[in-house]
């Protein structure tokens, strides 16, 4: 069963190959994602994060989910030597990890229902579990940052998350916190992690590091990466080939 919805202004795709799954199960995940959008969307004036940024909510009154995500972001900031920083000029923007967080939490909803074979994708970030329709590992393509109609790598993945950071499609939305300038040293960086939350947050941070980002991924346990430079040369970590 495959369902799609536009949530958070992005295309959400869910596919499950477990016979007991129902449309209601998928709608439950979509409802959760709407809830996350209401909390964390910086595009919505009525979201909790927007209210926080307008100084309308005392930090003692943040929702539990907000506190949790902000704590996680702080943790990521420390783990990435400040390259992941949701605080830009006094405005909080946790978007660099909320998508991964939301996909991962949604996956846990399915896992708790006993589903074993599914993926959840939000706009290019994906969590996979189990096998695809053919009983094989999921085949995930890496999009060509210079030609979005093309894929430049096909990966066989299962029970991992994958996320790609780049400034080619949504404008230069990733800022290097050190320079406060848009990160544009590389074209894209794809990260595979133990789950999509890990992949997303470290892809965001490592992308902001520029060409050094792939070295950060190489040094990080349980992360593999594929970086595409502006000269159309790709650089990959030493363990990346196990997914080919």
């Amino acid at each position: 069963m495959k369902k799609q919805a536009i949530i958070m202004g992005m295309l959400v795709t869910v596919q499950i190959f477990d016979h007991q799954s129902t449309n209601e199960d998928i709608q439950e995940v979509f409802a959760y994602l709407h809830y996350i959008d209401q909390k964390f969307s910086t595009y919505r004036k009525d979201s909790e994060i927007s209210q926080i940024n307008r100084g309308e909510i005392n930090n003692l009154d943040y929702s539990n989910e907000m506190k949790k995500v902000l704590e996680l972001c702080e943790e990521t900031k420390k783990e990435t030597d400040g390259y992941f920083d949701i605080n830009l000029n006094g405005i909080l923007d946790p978007s660099g990890s909320v998508k991964g967080y939301a996909i991962w939490q949604s996956s846990l909803i399915f896992k708790n229902k006993g589903f074993k074979n599914f993926y959840i994708e939000i706009a290019g970030d994906i969590q996979t579990f189990g096998k695809n329709e053919k009983g094989e590992s999921w085949r995930a393509g890496i999009q060509n940052p210079f030609n979005q109609k093309e894929i430049i790598k096909v990966l066989k993945i299962s029970n991992v998350g994958i996320a790609t950071s780049g400034n080619y499609q949504r404008g230069k939305h990733i800022i290097n916190p050190k320079t406060k300038l848009p990160a544009d040293e590389i074209a894209s960086l794809t990260v595979i992690g133990a789950n999509v939350y890990e992949a997303d947050r470290f892809a965001t941070a490592a992308f902001a590091m520029g060409e050094k980002g792939i070295e950060f991924i190489e040094r990080s346990k349980n992360l593999e990466g594929y970086m595409v430079k502006n000269d159309k040369i790709a650089v990959m970590t030493s363990g990346f080939k196990k997914y080919l």
Partner: protein
């Protein structure tokens, strides 16, 4: 992640081994003494080592036979490999010398600089379940590509 660090470190020394990359997915046995063989693809090529071919080399451009490389000092020990070419392709690579016989060298290996490999990007088959991109859409991608391919027929 660093399983083949030692191997990749030295690959730059052996120009003949550039073809290792061809082994990706092949059934050709690769002998890597004392190394876990979960991933039998020691095909990473050091970033600064040698120029990676931008396209896959034509099959069968090497002469059949067994070739032994020179002994190379890999800082933490010596490395020497033997490559066997059958039907113009590398069919086997054996490490005749490998610096993994004491704990210290293994420790040093694991502390070495990141070993990255590189390649020119190339369009691949669209036969995928999903696409990872910067805020990309799998479905739009696949539909678009299918359309492009239909025009190319």
């Amino acid at each position: 992640m660093r399983k083949y660090l030692q191997i990749t470190f030295v690959l730059g020394v052996f120009g003949a081994l550039v073809l290792l990359r061809q082994l990706k997915g092949d059934d050709a046995p690769i002998v890597t003494p004392n190394i876990s063989s979960q991933n039998p693809t020691p095909a990473s090529i050091q970033n600064s080592g040698m120029t990676q071919p931008t396209t896959m080399p034509t099959m069968g451009q090497y002469k059949n036979g067994t070739y032994i490389g020179s002994v190379q000092d890999a800082f933490y020990g010596n490395i020497q490999v033997q490559a066997t070419i059958s039907n113009g392709k590398i069919s086997n690579v054996t490490f005749l010398q490998f610096p993994n016989d004491n704990r210290t060298s293994q420790f040093v290996n694991s502390q070495a600089d990141p070993i990255l490999s590189q390649e020119a990007i190339q369009a691949q088959s669209a036969q995928v379940d999903i696409v990872s991109g910067a805020s990309a859409s799998s479905q739009a991608f696949q539909a678009s590509l299918a359309d492009a391919l239909s025009q190319a027929k």
